[in-house]
Subunit: 463 residues, 3 copies
């Protein structure tokens, strides 16, 4: 089996600078879902027909091992798009799947079942099919092409577009999903035989069905597992609908594997995320990129985890953002913490509210519970970071690193001026500015004299 994915369309209704098929669903281009589903449908050789903004689309999928074909005429129609890729199947004695790049909901399972169906018909009925058309029954078929069949059979005679349908044809509720499998030699024959539409000048793929049927190359309909599979994404509203459906499907996948998800409609989990069982995810949380979360960890409401590895029994409070970082078992983060860019939070450490950790190693059992900035630093085991502590890692020209030994105490509002090394078991008094290395066990203070001037406060009173 081979597959041709059609991604040449203008996507006018998206009103976008960006090619339609690159618009994202849960962090991936919609076209990625189509290609992934085709692969899950056990088809490895895939051609992508591009046209509108071809370079951008090809660039985005250059590592996906696809064969690219360019449709020259943007108004050529769907059959012309397939013809653009004729070198891909002209000498192929097998079947070819044709699917639109804006059909991210057609499942791999449905694609496998369509192939299976062809083999079954051959095996049990001895009929070599010319093609299979994926269909669904919709309560309201308005806007879709209707599937006309030989009464009492699954033999498709032709597909009629909404605008060309008679009143009677419009009453048909079986619609065309725009997904076909054709026998390649007959497909080629058909493509060379059909004529452009008199109304639009376009060559329509649906005419291939009618051609084959008339020629005696039997085409059958095959029902999608779920009617929603036929939804094509032509507007951003449909993009949102498709995203909602894919979201719930992904979440159901994880709940079946032992993950609790509260208020699934509000939760964002991207396809490359990986979760162990007994993870618990609260409303509005977002897991993005290649994030992994270990057993027993809790992701608090509204927290956002991007391309990060979270260990086991980690507790992430509300509204915590973790990006490109690693958090080990039993750490406690948030609420309102931000951990980013290569940070590594070791086992049992606590990072609390309004604390930012950037590209730093936070040792085991460190406490940094309030208002602090820790950047380009390495903190040993059990270090205590007071409220208001800042690691001044930037001197206006470049970034410098700091090292803090185990169990050091960094008093509140102190400023750690990098580059600097602070010894283990040292004690930095609150408000100090530390710009020299500190030996182990030292006490460090930089504090001006406190002057208390009686009664003078009165002059500031204006109350």
């Amino acid at each position: 089996m081979r597959a041709i994915v059609l991604a040449a369309g203008l996507g006018t209704r998206f009103r976008s600078e960006k090619p339609k098929v690159l618009h994202e669903i849960l962090g991936k281009p919609m076209l990625w879902y189509v290609i992934t589903n085709v692969r899950n449908g056990k088809i490895d050789e895939i051609a992508l027909v591009v046209g509108h903004k071809a370079q951008e689309v090809m660039e985005a999928f250059k590592d996906e091992n696809l064969k690219f074909f360019i449709q020259k005429n943007p108004k050529g129609g769907t059959a012309d798009a397939v013809l653009s890729a004729k070198d891909f199947f002209a000498s192929y004695d097998g079947y070819v799947l044709i699917i639109n790049g804006d059909s991210p909901l057609v499942s791999g399972e449905t694609i496998r079942n369509m192939q299976q169906f062809i083999y079954m018909v051959k095996a049990y009925e001895g009929v070599k099919l010319g093609g299979v058309v994926l269909t669904a029954h919709l309560p309201d078929p308005t806007g879709y092409g209707r599937v006309l069949k030989e009464p009492g059979t699954d033999r498709v005679l032709r597909i009629v577009e909404e605008k060309d349908a008679s009143a009677e044809e419009k009453r048909i509720t079986e619609v065309n999903a725009g997904v076909y499998i054709f026998y390649a030699p007959w497909l080629l024959e058909a493509l060379y035989s059909i004529k452009p539409s008199r109304a639009t000048g376009e060559l329509y793929l649906t005419d291939v069905v009618e051609y084959m049927s008339k020629k005696g190359y039997e085409v059958r309909s095959f029902m999608a597992r779920e009617p929603s599979e036929v939804i094509g994404v032509n507007t951003r509203w449909e993009l949102a609908i498709a995203e909602n459906l894919i979201k719930l499907k992904l979440i159901k996948f994880w709940t079946d594997r032992g993950v609790t998800v509260h208020f699934p409609e509000t939760v964002w989990i991207e396809p490359d995320v990986s979760l162990e069982n007994d993870v618990e995810i609260f409303p509005g949380a977002q897991l993005k990129g290649k994030t992994k979360v270990g057993k027993g960890s809790v992701i608090g409401s509204g927290s956002v985890i991007v391309d990060s590895t979270i260990g086991r029994n980690v507790r992430i409070g509300e509204y915590t953002v973790v990006e490109r970082s690693r958090v080990e078992d039993g750490a406690v983060l948030g609420p309102f913490a931000r951990i980013r860019d290569g940070a590594h939070v070791r086992s049992g450490a606590h990072i609390g509210n309004f604390v930012e950790v950037k590209k730093s190693v936070i040792g085991e059992d460190v406490r940094a519970k309030h208002l602090a900035y820790i950047g380009d630093a390495t903190l040993g085991k059990g270090v205590n970071v007071g409220a208001g502590v800042v690691f001044a890692n930037y001197d206006g020209k470049r970034k410098h690193e700091s090292f803090v030994g185990e169990r050091a105490f960094l008093g509140s509002n102190s400023l750690i001026v990098a580059p600097v090394k602070i010894g283990s078991f040292s004690f930095i008094a609150g408000g100090s500015v530390v710009n020299k290395d500190v030996p182990d066990y030292a006490f460090v203070i930089s504090r001006p004299e406190l002057r208390i001037i009686p009664e003078k406060g009165k002059k500031f009173l204006d109350k």
Copy 2:
């Protein structure tokens, strides 16, 4: 055409101190939607009948160019409410729309279509209608008034309330939306002719329909475009339902204009917001008041933008709050930033996590990436604001301003005591307290001696 909006009801089921019609949907009183829809229905002369908490309602709509009428008797009933406004239509030879102030879902389009219908019936059938009743077919009509018609026609004979309906009448699924257009002279005649209900003493508008029908003033039914239009908001649960429907309608409006909205159910966009195409809005974001967002900008999850102007290609991260401010092209905000009250963030500036900017000008390419408070300040191009920097703009009596010249470097944890001017290209060492003006190119430091006392840290150890 004129319109009478009835907003005199007690709204008992809301259990509120506030008049029911002032309860808000996406930041606007529900009555605002009714008036806006009537205006969109091409009716400019509008009377508002108030009663319960009349002053509050009139105050809220005093700038809307409405004629106010007061219903004296809170238990007078709907027809009595219309009679309160009789001076509005007693000498008017035309049609009058009557709609409830708690019907925010009746669209302007439906109101236009009802008028159109009257003109068409006159033009094509030569029938001058006495009235039109807006109706809908509901699968479960329980609780609604049922519309009784002459069999096989659209001629309405009368409307029967749920509680007065026979078993057979209850099976009717066509319900009364409580929206009517009547020919004014006949309406007046009917209002003077109908009698109060024996059960409640109220005068019912539905009796006008029966009166006209008997009198030979033909009343027809007209089907609402969407059944949901008939929902009246009598409880806060219905308020939530109406809000959900209006929310999705507004979002669909924007997606059709090229805006991407992820998880539309969770996104709040108020009616006065204005968006360019290729704006992308993430789950839980809220756009309020007269906010404008330019092309290519991204609104991160859970961010709240109120009465602000956001330029093009601005990137707003998660959980960022912008109020009454202006953000220019290419600025980067958040996550966890707060920009408020007349702040002006220039092109390319970055405002990061746990930073508050109040009534300040942030110059181009400024960096203020962590934990800072910038209030009443003007920062020139390229200024660097370190973590923990605070502009002390308040001296206990009044607020003062600060000025920072271009490319100045404000070291971490330094305190800028307003009023003060800091020159361009100056460098403030970390932890400094700056309470004097600083010339361009100066180096500034206020730092006590750092004392490092070996071994003394031990006495603080308790670990």
Copy 3:
């Protein structure tokens, strides 16, 4: 009436270390809902049959006044589970409700109605029922046991499981909710008479129905008020569905009592929360534990209130977390504030963005509007806390307290080193480190000399 709740199952499909019935819905174990609903159904004597992880389940419900029974054989089946509790009803001449611990949606009202039904049948028909089976009609009954009845009556003949059902039986849409009331003596007789399944060796409760029916102990079906009541929670997906339904039911309860809830699908309100009327709750807010909120208060988007008491007319902005604290009338919190662990915010105080308050008393009209940490402190009326102020309450060994008198002014970035007392009307200059007591009306400053070195800033320029 007595009730037996079956909570011995393995819950294999949950793939969890935790017993299935302890998995939470809105902060309470699902089993809590079953027990609460049974109690609301006017049944006080309740037996709980445990098995899998029995100790954990009993521990969690040890204060609920239940009688515990242990099912020894984890594969004994539902009837074996009931037999485990036979001492609970063997000598009881009355009716026994049997319900599964994973059926949190069966309402107290339905349980009361089932009992009522038994009494009515006795009173009006003179029939003493052997049992009542709770049923519902589902459009798609797949997976549920079907209820087979004597045609034209409500007499149940037997219940057939999906896997054992004939094609014809599968077409029955009336399904078994797994909730029964049986007359205890006949139940016991039936339990001793039925035989283990040949396929699985289990004793099925559904066989009791068939036994009784054959024996002439009449069993009738009783329809649940809402079909959703029959949903059993066997997977975490069903847990999410049940949570969504319970959430909306709780929110509807509060809207009927005069609370406004925006976007109800996104709002989390736990069962023990208590709200006055005219409270307004914005999207994504969460009210947890025994939280109370007074009239006229506003809970901003995404705010989380846990086990706290919020007074009247309190305004809580976006993304504010309040835990185990008390907030008095008219206080203003957030956005991005965190109030925790025994904090007490008095009337009219403002706590603003990036401020943490821990175990402190915040006096009336205090202002702490930006970036501060207030821990273990008592602030008098009208105190002003500048940006960047930190109460250093921890010295590395223990926590200490601070006291600040009324109308004191704590300048920005100052550090208050506990234990310390700061007098009323005193003025602490910005950047001071206060480690001594300060008398009333004093002016306090600790500030190193500011050195301004002309031109020296240049050497730091690298721009």
